[in-house]
């Protein structure tokens, strides 16, 4: 039986204090079309309005019984504030996430404007956090891309990937600039009173980088970021992560989040029981494609593998089947009273 409020549950969980039941939350987008449609707006309209961001996040959690709200939904807010622009696909049919249309062509051209924090949609995102914090109902999550992934939004990724071998000084100089931005923005969001912060270094998995390169190029900057931030702070990486679990665990985060490619049971063995483990169902396959009756085994599988909270492996694709999300929630509520490796029960 639930005895804690959603906010209380998530906050205690993230401190690894006993909770009444497993919290239902995420460090990535949780907005659904059910909420967007109920508000009478289109997805493309959501991104630059504090009211729509806060409203759609809140409504999604109210409809489905999530314990948290998290904004923004797209990865362009910081690149746009740096002058790289943003395409919202206002005329496109269905759901399309905004993208960054222009990138710096060389590493030498990268110059961060001093006032980026006040440009473009950054104020709207801040205002959305203020509204969500003020309503004091759900735990409020914030996220910032990691420096490599943020870098891939503002410069051609192959410049970075090839530059690691051909121009290591230039790439490290660039990574330092991105790291400073990530720290500034993340600290700013923490100062607004959010309850947890997720660093999403999603483009750095071993689909792209070798573990050796990850240790050289990614880990030092993530360590710098996590050293600069207050807890609770989480590290999420998509794609291939089995080979870098230990390296990720050395970055200083309170919890690690993986997508469906990760072998969670093995990861739990590698990181032990003192670190929060989140993951790792395929959000599109589980919530949009499969039959609702098939959702419970997927969610239960994550729990059996040793997660402390069942997280989707990435943003929830908004066009979810309502009954599938309900099955996710019901499964966590059904089995979540049991303690997990890193978190006991009250």
């Amino acid at each position: 039986m639930a005895t804690m409020t959603p906010k209380e549950r998530v906050k205690k969980f993230l401190k690894r204090e006993p909770v009444d039941t497993m919290p239902l939350f995420s460090g990535m987008g949780l907005v659904t079309v059910q909420a967007i449609e109920k508000m009478g707006i289109r997805f493309a309209q959501v991104h630059d309005s504090a009211d729509y961001l806060a409203g759609s996040a809140t409504l999604s959690s109210e409809i489905f019984g999530f314990d948290s709200v998290i904004v923004p939904y797209d990865m362009c807010t910081i690149p746009e504030a740096m002058g790289r622009g943003c395409t919202t696909y206002a005329q496109a049919e269905g759901i399309l996430y905004p993208t960054v249309p222009t990138k710096w062509e060389t590493l030498d051209q990268v110059e961060i404007n001093a006032d980026y924090m006040h440009q473009a949609r950054m104020p709207a995102v801040e205002e959305a956090y203020r509204k969500l914090v003020a309503q004091n109902k759900f735990a409020v999550g914030a996220w910032v891309l990691g420096p490599f992934t943020l870098g891939g939004q503002v410069i051609e990724l192959d410049l970075l990937l090839k530059g690691i071998k051909k121009n290591p000084e230039g790439v490290h100089g660039f990574m330092k600039k991105m790291t400073a931005v990530v720290i500034d923005v993340a600290k700013r969001y923490q100062s607004l009173g959010v309850d947890y912060l997720n660093i999403r270094e999603m483009g750095s998995g071993t689909d792209l980088l070798s573990p050796r390169m990850w240790k050289q190029l990614i880990q030092p900057y993530l360590q710098e970021i996590f050293a600069a931030l207050e807890s609770p702070k989480i590290l999420h990486i998509c794609g291939g992560t089995d080979l870098i679990v230990e390296l990720m665990n050395e970055c200083g985060a309170d919890g690690l989040s993986f997508d469906q490619k990760n072998n969670l049971a093995e990861s739990r063995k590698k990181i032990g029981n003192d670190v929060l483990l989140m993951g790792n169902f395929d959000p599109y396959g589980t919530l949009c494609q499969m039959e609702a009756a098939d959702v419970e085994p997927v969610i239960k599988g994550c729990m059996d593998a040793g997660v402390d909270a069942v997280w989707p492996g990435c943003d929830v694709w908004p066009e979810v089947k309502k009954e599938n999300v309900e099955a996710w929630v019901a499964t966590v509520r059904k089995y979540g009273a049991q303690p997990t490796p890193a978190v006991g029960r009250a």
Partner: protein, 227 residues
């Protein structure tokens, strides 16, 4: 005509130049191939493409990752740019056909697409590269304009993958015989099947493996003894 020993030396250097991503070496031996009257198709398929096959093996063994593959691709293109203008008419006539390629609207990442494009370039296809963030209807329009036999679509994110389904429907409605290849991290065999595609590759590295398999097949068909 070049002597067999010299031919092997040039091919080895082209192949190893690709594997070791030594653009200067590839450039030097591509020029040597041209200057010494070697068959350009032979140099491409049994030098450059053979090197890329080794790269595929190294990727399989997790010795190489995407940064290395990208640098190998640069070396390969260095040679391709020199050798392609010297292809015999008969080799050009053997071109395998035309392909329309691009990343779908909403996706600005194109590493996987560019690697697949490389495969088509090497294999002698005429490639119509629409770039990235391509409006869905442009794929169908370009296919109709060019009468391409293949349309290759890439999406790196789940959030853009859905556009592929619409493109496939548009193209198949007008021309059911067009082969459609999907690529990108979120694309699985099930998704490809569900969307009605004819083939798929789930990552940039996987795309290269798929590409190399196709090139290997082509090399077997053409025979290795071209001289």
């Amino acid at each position: 005509m070049v002597q067999e020993d010299r031919r092997k030396e040039i091919l080895d250097n082209l192949s190893q130049g690709v594997v070791e991503y030594e653009e200067d070496r590839v450039e030097k031996f591509s020029h040597a191939a041209v200057d010494e009257g070697m068959n350009a198709f032979d140099a491409i398929m049994n030098g450059l493409a053979a090197g890329m096959e080794i790269v595929g093996d190294l990727y399989d063994k997790q010795e190489y990752f995407v940064p290395e593959i990208l640098m190998c691709a640069d070396a390969l293109y260095k040679g391709l740019d020199i050798l392609k203008p010297h292809l015999d008419k008969v080799d050009k006539k053997d071109a395998k056909g035309q392909v329309v390629i691009g990343t779908v609207q909403g996706d600005v990442h194109d590493i996987g697409k560019n690697l697949i494009k490389m495969m088509f370039d090497v294999a002698g296809f005429t490639v119509h590269d629409l770039g990235r963030d391509v409006p869905l209807e442009s794929f169908a329009e370009e296919q109709l304009r060019t009468d391409a036999e293949i349309v290759a679509l890439s999406a790196m994110m789940t959030t853009t993958m859905m556009g592929m389904k619409k493109v496939i429907a548009m193209i198949k409605q007008k021309n059911p015989d067009v082969a459609i290849m999907l690529g990108g991290a979120p694309v699985t065999k099930d998704v490809a099947k569900l969307f009605g595609a004819d083939g798929y590759a789930e990552s940039a590295g996987n795309a290269v493996q798929e590409a190399i398999k196709m090139i290997s097949q082509l090399r077997k068909i053409q025979g290795n003894g071209v001289n």
